[in-house]
Amino acid sequence: MLVLTKSILEAIFAHALREYPLESCGLIAGESGNESVVKRWYPTYNTAQSARYYTVEPREYLKIERELDSSNLEVTGVVHSHTHSDPYPSVTDVENAVDPSWHYLIVSLRFEKPVCRSFFILNGNINEEELVVIK
């Protein structure tokens, strides 16, 4: 289960819509030992600048890691958008999944309103988790 606030989810959706028609991406952070609650959302630049692919800008990721160093937070997952397909991990997403403990959130823009789902990807296996939105 992944818990996030309505305001963070709305910020994630706004970023995805702003970047459209390109894929959007960003990182989420949570507390060490309690990774199931999203505490921060960091929109990042998609260096692929593509409607089909994303790459989180590596230096932004480094900067985020340094910012989190002084807290008890750590990067706990990545968010990206699928502009024309379902919010489900693609073959590319699975092949590139870097951390089995991370939450992989996918926002689909193929519907009237953005739709977000969250997954764990472990050894090529996809497991969806419940996404709980709180005030």
């Binding site: 790459t55 230096r59 990721y61 590139n96 951390d99 089995p100 991370w102």
Partner: protein, 93 residues
């Protein structure tokens, strides 16, 4: 010399959960090689079978990506901090 190496979450499981470790080496390659020897679980995730830096990993010497320096031959100083981060990518195909 000994330098600080900051680890991403995916590698911390191989280093007893530590966010960073101190490691010996005069170059990035030596530091990563020693890191892999001390924490064997990291080996496949850092270097390829031919000894190159894995494409799914970015390594920084302070603020600089070592791929734009001398790669694994990049020299390190005692005050340097090495940061290892996974390349985060994907797509919808």
């Amino acid at each position: 010399m000994t330098v600080e190496v900051r680890l991403p979450t995916v590698l911390r499981q191989h280093a007893n959960g530590e966010k960073s470790v101190m490691e010996e080496g005069a170059t990035i390659g030596e530091v990563l090689s020693n890191l892999s020897q001390h924490f064997p679980g990291m080996n496949d995730q850092l270097l390829t079978a031919s000894g190159e830096l894995h494409k799914f990993v970015n390594v920084y010497l302070n603020d600089d990506d070592v791929r734009y320096l001398d790669k694994l031959d990049t020299k390190v100083e005692e005050t340097d901090v090495i940061s290892i981060l996974p390349a985060v990518a994907g797509g919808d195909v």
